[in-house]
């Protein structure tokens, strides 16, 4: 049986809950991570991921496969995040609480984790669209054209967002970057 995203969407459009859960399981980790990085808040990111998947379910009967499902879902998640950011101020990672990494050897990576925490904090201080452009480029591996589609803007605007975002990151992280592996 064809279990591509588009085939699953066709089944979901007919009310197939099993197909919906399969599609959700496939995309939720990446979408939760994307939302967490754009929002800087793990709890809100879960809410956004849930809301995005519920939109997949409710909108499936009217969904048209004009673009790849993943691109469409990414756009939904980014738009939900930006809507939330407009309603609420940025919450720093410290205020959002520490999330314990349960993987083995987590303690040995303390220094690396510290650098990543500083980077995350620096990304968190970026204006929301600069942050979204950087997160989409590096998290989703999107080209500038795909980021432009997800952010509903032009490629040149994305390039400007990336240039300004990285200028800001360089200023905030000069010591961390210099110590990079």
């Amino acid at each position: 049986m064809d279990d591509s995203d588009e085939a699953l969407m066709a089944r979901i459009a007919r009310g197939d809950e099993q197909a919906f859960r399969l599609l959700a399981r496939r995309h939720l980790p990446a979408m939760a991570g994307l939302a967490r990085r754009v929002l800087g808040n793990a709890a809100e990111a879960e809410d956004v991921a849930q809301e995005a998947m519920l939109r997949v379910w409710t909108h499936a009967p009217r969904w048209q496969p004009l673009a790849a499902f993943r691109t469409w879902l990414t756009r939904v998640v980014v738009n939900l995040c930006l809507d939330r950011k407009r309603r609420a101020q940025w919450v720093g990672l410290e205020a959002a609480g520490e999330i314990v990494d349960p993987s083995p050897g987590a303690g040995e990576r303390a220094e690396s984790d510290e650098r990543e925490r500083l980077l995350a904090a620096a990304i968190g201080t970026l204006p929301e669209r600069q942050r979204a452009a950087i997160v989409l480029t590096y998290t989703e591996g999107m080209s500038n054209a795909q980021v432009a589609e997800a952010l509903d803007t032009s490629v040149s605007a994305v390039e400007t967002l990336l240039v300004r975002g990285k200028q800001n990151l360089r200023r905030a992280l000069s010591s961390v970057i210099d110590e990079g592996e």
């Binding site: 879960e46 349960p102 990543e116 998290t139």
Partner: protein, 153 residues
């Protein structure tokens, strides 16, 4: 290419030359090879890319968050958003790309219509006798008295 232009290229497309626009690649690589400051900028961009790539990895926390969301989605799902009457949507949702098959079909219809028009194929054959008889028959039906009662219509 100037150093500022190289920096913009590094920021907008990353440090990997494979991702750079082909038109700028040779000039950018030439500057990096010949200029120490450009080389430093390229190395810094590589470090930033590496740091961002590490930051972007899907973390174990994301898997945990996804599992929690899946649990929340285990309950009854909301009603799907179905259009109650689909025909207007279908009619308005025609796809016109690629347009040439439809344009060709329209042109064929127009040409056939034009040929039918100028050759008179759209008109009934003129049969004078039959038409006259037909007309007289109609008149008799309308104006002759009814056979039994003698009443006129």
């Amino acid at each position: 290419m100037t150093r500022d232009e190289l920096q913009s290229l590094l920021d907008s497309h990353g440090a990997d030359p494979a991702q750079w626009p082909a038109a700028l690649r040779v000039a950018a690589l030439g500057l990096i090879a010949s200029d120490a400051e450009a080389r430093v900028a390229h190395e810094a961009a590589q470090h930033l890319d590496a740091a961002l790539a590490r930051y972007a990895r899907v973390a174990a926390t994301d898997e945990t968050a996804a599992a929690r969301v899946m649990t929340r989605l285990a309950g009854p799902l909301p009603r799907q958003d179905r259009a109650s009457w689909r025909w207007p949507t279908v009619l308005l949702d025609w796809q016109f790309t690629p347009a040439w098959p439809r344009v060709a079909a329209l042109a064929c219809c127009a040409a056939i219509g034009f040929m039918v028009g100028i050759t008179g194929l759209d008109r009934p054959f003129e049969r004078t006798g039959t038409t006259a008889a037909g007309r007289s028959d109609i008149t008799s039906v309308v104006f002759e008295p009814e056979a039994i009662t003698g009443a006129r219509p």
